[in-house]
Amino acid sequence: MKRFIHFFIIMTVWLLLTWSLNWQELLVGVLVALFAELLLGDIFPIEGVRIFHPRRFFWLIVYFWVFLWAMIRSNFDVAYRVLNIYLPINPGIVKVRTKLTSDMGRTFLANSITLTPGTMTVDMIGDHLYIHWINVQSPDIQKDTEIIVRHFERILERIFE
C-alpha cells in the first residue's frame, strides 16, 4: 500500500512535468517511477503518506496560510532593516526547545523558522534548535521558545503527531 502511494506521487509529478498523455510518455513514466521506487522507496519518510488523512490535510491548508502571512511580514521586516541608514540589527544565536518528535515535523519547523521574520535555523542537537536571530529580544530559553516556535508548533502538532 505504502509503495503504491509512492508510485502514485512520482507518477503525478511526472505527468505534471511532461503535460501530455501520449502513450510513449506514459510508458517511460511508468518505467522511471518503478525504477525510482525500487531504488529509493526505503528512505522515503513514512509521515509523508499520513498527510493524506482529511483532518491532517485541513490543518496543512491552515498552516499554509499562516506560513504565507509570516513570510510576507518577514520580507517587509528585512526590507526595513536593509534600507535604514543606521542598520538597526542586534544579532545573536539563541537556543529554543521543540516538542515535536517526528522527523518530517521537525524539518517543516526548521524550514518555516528560516523563512519567518528575522530568524534562521543554524543547527539542531537533540530537542534543541539553535537559531540565528537578527534582533535578539531576550537571552532566556523559555521566552524565546514562546516568541519563535510556539505558533508554528501548535499547528504542526496537529499535522504530524
Partner: protein
C-alpha cells in the same frame, strides 16, 4: 485584468530581489547576509514564477512554474541551513556587535568534556 495582476506580482518580485541583493552587499557578516538573501530572494523569485500563471494562463508553462515554486520553497531554506552550519563549524565568528552565541558556548562545552 489577469495581465495587470501579473505585472503587479512581477514588480513585487523584482523589488524584493533587489532588496535582498542590497542586503547581501550591506550587512556585516555571513549569517546576516544569509538572512536577507534567503528570505527576500526566495519570496521574490516565487512571486516572479507565480506571475507566469497570470501571464500565460493555465497550461504546461504555468504548471511547471508552480512545481518550481514548490522546489524553491523546500530547497532554499535547507541550503541556507547547511551553509550557516558549515560556516559556524569552519570557525567563522559572529559579527563583533553580536549579543550572544549559545551555539559556540554549547559546542565548546561539548568539546572540552571528552
Amino acid at each position: 485584468m489577469s495581465e495587470t495582476i501579473g505585472y503587479i506580482l512581477l514588480t513585487v518580485g523584482i523589488v524584493f530581489d533587489v532588496l535582498g541583493c542590497i542586503g547581501l552587499v550591506r550587512l556585516p557578516d555571513v549569517y546576516n547576509r544569509l538572512q536577507a538573501g534567503t528570505k527576500c530572494v526566495t519570496l521574490g523569485t516565487a512571486a516572479i514564477l507565480l506571475s507566469v500563471l497570470f501571464f500565460t494562463g493555465f497550461n504546461a508553462i504555468s504548471v511547471k512554474a508552480l512545481l518550481c515554486i514548490w522546489f524553491i520553497l523546500i530547497t532554499s531554506p535547507t541550503a541556507a541551513h547547511a551553509i550557516s552550519r558549515a560556516a559556524h563549524r569552519s570557525g567563522i565568528r559572529l559579527w563583533k556587535g553580536s549579543v550572544l552565541d549559545r551555539y559556540a558556548e554549547d559546542r565548546e562545552g561539548a568539546e572540552d568534556k571528552p
